[in-house]
Symmetry: C2
Subunit: 264 residues, 2 copies
Amino acid sequence: MHRSDLYASSTAAQGGALAGLAMATPASQHAEARLNGQRIAEALRLLSTTVDVQRRIVRAGDTVYQTGQRFSHLYILNSGIFKLLSLSADGREQVVGLKFRGDWMGFAGIAKGHYACDAVAMDTGEVWAIRYDTLLAACARQPELMVLLHEAMSAEIVRERESVLSLCTLPADARVADFISYWADSLASRGLRTDQITLCMTRAEIGNYLGLTLETVSRALSKLVRERLISFAQKGRRDISIPDIGLLRSYAQRGQTAAGHTLQ
Amino acid sequence: MHRSDLYASSTAAQGGALAGLAMATPASQHAEARLNGQRIAEALRLLSTTVDVQRRIVRAGDTVYQTGQRFSHLYILNSGIFKLLSLSADGREQVVGLKFRGDWMGFAGIAKGHYACDAVAMDTGEVWAIRYDTLLAACARQPELMVLLHEAMSAEIVRERESVLSLCTLPADARVADFISYWADSLASRGLRTDQITLCMTRAEIGNYLGLTLETVSRALSKLVRERLISFAQKGRRDISIPDIGLLRSYAQRGQTAAGHTLQ
DNA sequence: CGAGTTATTGATGTTTGTCAAGTCTAGTGG
DNA sequence: CCACTAGACTTGACAAACATCAATAACTCG
């Protein structure tokens, strides 16, 4: 195990409490994915019928808001993939989040009245913009809208914590494996194919997101290929096949090739 | 500079957009702190008058909720300091957040219906529990309550991103300096003294929070003392004096001792 | 086809983790 | 009040992981 495992004493007692996190079987995962995809579709429908949304088509590289701009709208991704770029006062730049269909963008702007990062499209897609003040008003009238909004913010907090966990506890190879698993899961939970995925990010961007250099990312990918956990499509090295997502995930979690990931 | 600075090309153009993040002068910082402290007091007053809160005194080590428990309440810290402990399915344990007076806890539970981490008190304090369903109902009646809630969730997202930024872009020493600055800022923005602060965490916990080992934390602290950026109180090594928070902050940001942090 | 970007791979150096003393502190019981 | 002890902390020596530097290959787009 990597780094501090000092709290081992308290973990044993909580095995029971973790029951809610028990691994789903492949079958139930698939059902869950469809359910999740439906939930997203429903959420989008609810939004488009209850509040005024401005739809906008974006192409790779387009920005829907920038750091420091006055906060006014929240954005929901109908299709495409976005990255959130945070830039610190001293010029460090960091990919702090990835967004897929159904995800909201701009939450961080609510607290301070200014957007806290740049939202940049990584391929073509469609974004819906919603004025925050009108959304608030709609939420007051329509409780289910408020619930939707809270769940989205909560999910973002959860995801961000998973990032921290990965950054703090996993070695480079596992972090890259975890990243690919996350990407695949994100697609899967939206009902998209995951046996062949296209990472629309350069090695440098992946490295930045994972706190690694581009060379380390490249080496990690090569290693994953050698271990047959992933493989590249014939042409190009952006298209990745994942023969067994479970194997990849357990590699990420244990930081090594796991024999029999289906064991409890 | 540490690690990838690949996006330098795009940063220059956005200097203007960053105007909202311009550094405050010490005087305005102090005013801001008082304002912030008042805002927290006001928020607590609003809550206690509009919704039913259960108050509970906690001592160091007490837990107000645990990973996997069914989500039902949100919690607000009236006093004391909490840590949030996330434990992954495979047993990795991670401090994913620190909470001070006025902070909310439990947001991550909204999305999945179960708490996503343990909330553990690090010293004595008072927590207010609020049923989430009654809070939702109150929010629908009372828009200012909803705004309050959204701002709190947004602030948590912002803070979490700052963590990621620190983890990904700063070397060990700077990360520790950044951590101490963050702690001091957290106290300052609540109107508390910051020239002498008590970190109620062991080196192991700090290391876990920062993705470092306890030895590295210890060495970093020793180095900060050598560089006169901090100093320990006579007895014990938990009480830290910060002669100049600005110097410490610029050390964190530049990753080295900065001459003249007041320069633009 | 050729220029420029992106990716891979190797050689080397630095940072940080690991292991191992040893010190300090607070708390316990004689 | 004074050992005694257990946990927290510090420091050094060494090893491992990762960053850096550099050379080359592959792909993209004109």
